[in-house]
Symmetry: D2
């Protein structure tokens, strides 16, 4: 931590802070300059947070030296974490595509969409039973019945399923039916939920929040690992910016960046990342090219009739095209479809 | 709803959509143009959402005519809603200031900060027992013991208390101790939490999310009203933008805008809205000048030593200055301190 | 400057950088830590920029200690700069309101709008002869004829005029006719233009860019001062964010922040800052309350018929109301209308 | 254009607007609803802008039906435009890589960097003689001497050169020396510059502004085409968002979107788009995969020593790796290196 003191800070102030740094077991540094005094504190910065120096009236600014996340960092854990999802490994050399409709609507519709997805080579099914919707008047999902339908179809087709959990009260029920639990963008910093999921023996797919910096996402994952769950997959799904031509701005920089900083697998959701059906295939290829470990894609047997997210759901034939088009791109970067 | 069809859409497509609009009890409109066919549907747009036209392959764009929120709209309810908090009314002619530390630390510290706040004229106390923190290694709040301490001090000083609830599992416990329940920015779209709070017989302070549009905030409030709770206060607390000189960008435009669009009271949190202690007073005055109904301000008996948010907490003397400075500005806009 | 080295950096690398720092006449610091080596360089950071350490493969991050702007800083120049505009002083105790239409349309229309503005107490007139418009098909302004009309009306009413200059080729012509030259948001980082304006003997009104950090704005002003022009007024006019309810997000935090960091006057443009006529008055009051030195407001004799920016232009009676409403708010903060 | 009237608008208001629409030669539509009256105007919306309906006090909102750009639209011009740059075609089946240092520093250094770029297969050289820098104390470029150096090296190596022009006063000089003129992000809406470049007989590379929507970029290009220059290449180079881990957020959504909406070639600048050397290669591959027509990449013979942008400049061996890695990805999407 670098501590820049205000111009009017006295030597006594500097000494007081230096001794508090030392008491925490960190190495204090004194750097007097012509315009300002600068102090340093070297060591585990998590301890330093307890000094609450950001509230000090003589401190002009604080600059951390090291990243605040530890367990998710590649520095602490250089090898890629591989998350098991059904029979597939996510985070290894194979690229994992998970597809399905936005929501579980009816059993027949889910069977139909999931069959398309399986036939085209996806390794798992996605569909929501609990749906976070901006308006209370929009379809909110079928809840427990939706979970049962999802499990039924997953078993029938022999594919694992991932679905969103929105509330600590539902974690047990969702964990019982699903093979992976998804934390949605709007709940990425629902820390109560993260703490409970850190105790669950199922993998967690953690989606980036609409206004979450990459560091916020890594710290949210740190909650899961710190609580004991190491089976975590990160998911870039677009951030909110001033651009209105697309629903969100898919931040592929973040994918390449996170692959360097963390050992956790990183997936991409080009459906929410664009909000526009016709942009899903090109952005899927881009995600594969820049190092993502897989995709989460919305597909519907008949998007015209979908109860939610129809505008960004692929038609079955588009999903098939996407899978075919992905193969040579993955080969070009030394990977294959899982 | 205005429905712009793609250039290649045929008459059959237009007819099919028009008949679906009619079946929903809405008035269909056909508007053929030289470059495009445009359709209209007039009536309650909540019904229209069920047509899922955004997924239609021949629909180029959809443009709503009316706002998607209803119960929170001033059109439906022209008179200001007044929320009772202890002995004070929020949303009427008096301006309500609620102050206190970021978190309940110890009983003595809370007593000390709360006494300052009371002496200076605040109508209530704020302090967190459950703290949402970006890092799992930061102080997470004292939980139930914090609630008890907060209730004790509130009773001792004769002031109502507001505190954050982060999880549906804690709603009952928080509602038992607090006079108002706060939904934090990171939970603004935790719809499970909103649905439960909609059934609680206590007022709710709903803070705007970091990336929430004003419309998203109004729709989140709509969840509360639709579930039966009409005692809702909105709170602008800064949004996340590219600016880094301040922690957030306080969006006072949103305050003036919401006062015109909704009957619910609107408060401002200049502490999170700036993140910088020395900016809190000027932004408090600005909030009062543009029509806010009150403030939520962080004050600490000794910010240097605060366990969280020290950099944005006022010193006691600053809070007193703020209250004194507010009075003439409020008088200038025809209001007074509650 | 704090220089954090990568984990794999050797002692040789550190020594090499330290000696380069010393050669620039700065004080080098060596701070070995348990996880990283950190270096420091104390002194004028403008010199340090020449070392180009951000390109060094063994440098993980660079953190400036001091602000990169100097001449505009209040540290270097503690007293408020006062800019003379006609008979008024901007930046002193009086609050300056400049009003007028978006563009010079016809001489009669300008006379009509400017008369309203004068009668209500404005100290100057604004109107554009050169208009930056997103579309090439929108009205682009009358150019030189517009300047002449503006000068005529200004002389007729005895009020100074401010107008935008978009091109170095026009600076001389605009400087001849106008009392103050405006740099629009889209040209805030048109450094060629700033360099030329730094040589002009007329005050410059520098508007913040749509994506400009406060520091970028202060550095743009630094261009003007470094070239010799100290008559500079900064103008907050809203930044571009994800919010769509308003045209821009007026960042009043920036006003309070800049008043603390720089000695230059800071004005606010609530017309562009909101884009919505009905929000202009409340945001004008907020600007006055938080310490702005004046306003730049669009007013039109008949906004329904304005050739540009009609939606955000005040009606004459609204401008009069604004001026009346401002008076008590200004009195409350110890100021008056210029 | 769809015109939503306010609730209180009378029939007379509607009639007045409808007759103004008709007078402009557009087809007026009257759509009375239960809550609001909605009007329509079908035809060329450029004409409609002259009605200035956004300023009307009884108009609640305006919603354009058609895009405001025409000449750049693929609807008007379905076939890809191909821009000739030296011996290469940009916008056709071959993928064009242009490389070089941020700035022209010395002739020897430029020769060295440019030779690397040529040897690895680039089709042209980029380097700045006029440099837009946030601070007036940073290196500003060599100006005319830089242009001469650039021309010399281009001729020596037999490669065309592209360089930035910042001011209308320099257009002639730059056009004389360069094979393509670049408009930088900060000048994307310098409309005076665009109008002059629209008359130049050289191709223009137009970079997206930091806060420019895709539509703003297309409208800026429309300025060039409307003035007569059809040799225009668009360049995505990252937008400014809240994320701080990278210098900008590279918006590849915009690339895929623009390839569908316009016939103009679209290039990507992954150097500015990330600001981080180690992210340039993955984002180059992503750009190639999602349909970009080429890359603009910063390469320096010795980035440690670069006078600007060292942190994002590739080492020569990295540029070679990038070119090799691109080949199979391009083959996977049916293209090759130009």
């Amino acid at each position: 931590m670098i501590i820049v003191l205000k111009r009017e800070a006295t030597q006594e102030i500097a000494d007081e802070i230096l001794s508090r740094i030392e008491q925490k077991g960190l190495k204090p540094l004194f750097m007097p300059g012509t315009e300002r005094v600068v102090l340093g504190a070297l060591g585990d910065e998590r301890v330093l947070a307890e000094l609450n120096l950001d509230g000090h009236p003589m401190v002009e600014s604080l600059k951390p030296i090291l990243s605040p996340y530890k367990l998710v960092s590649r520095e602490m854990h250089p090898h890629d974490t591989i998350v098991r999802f059904g029979k597939a490994n996510i985070g290894g050399p194979s690229f994992a595509v998970i597809g399905g409709p936005c929501a579980v609507e009816t059993e027949d519709r889910l069977r139909s969409s999931a069959s398309v997805v399986k036939a085209a080579g996806a390794i798992g099914i996605r569909a929501g039973a609990y749906k976070p919707r901006s308006s209370p008047y929009s379809f909110q999902g079928h809840g427990p019945e939706g979970l049962t339908t999802l499990r039924t179809i997953g078993d029938e087709l022999g594919l694992p399923v991932v679905t969103e959990v929105m509330d600590t009260a539902d974690v047990e029920a969702v964990a019982e039916k699903a093979d992976m639990l998804q934390v949605g963008a709007r709940n990425m910093q629902n820390f109560s939920l993260l703490k409970v999921l850190g105790k669950v023996d199922k993998p967690v797919l953690l989606k980036r929040g609409l206004a979450a910096k990459v560091e916020d996402l890594l710290l949210a994952a740190e909650y899961l690992l710190a609580a004991g769950n190491e089976q975590v997959i990160l998911c870039e799904r677009g951030i909110r910016t001033f651009e209105t031509a697309t629903r969100n701005t898919l931040d592929l920089n973040a994918v390449a960046y996170m692959k360097q900083k963390t050992h956790l697998p990183v997936m991409v959701d080009p459906s929410h990342g664009t909000g526009v059906r016709d942009l899903v295939i090109p952005m899927s290829l881009a995600a594969a090219a820049c190092g993502a470990d897989g995709l989460l894609v919305e597909v519907h047997e008949n998007p015209v009739d979908a109860w939610s997210d129809g505008a960004q759901s692929l038609y079955p034939h588009q999903f098939e095209t996407m899978m075919e088009t992905l193969k040579p791109v993955l080969a070009a970067v030394g990977r294959d479809l899982a």
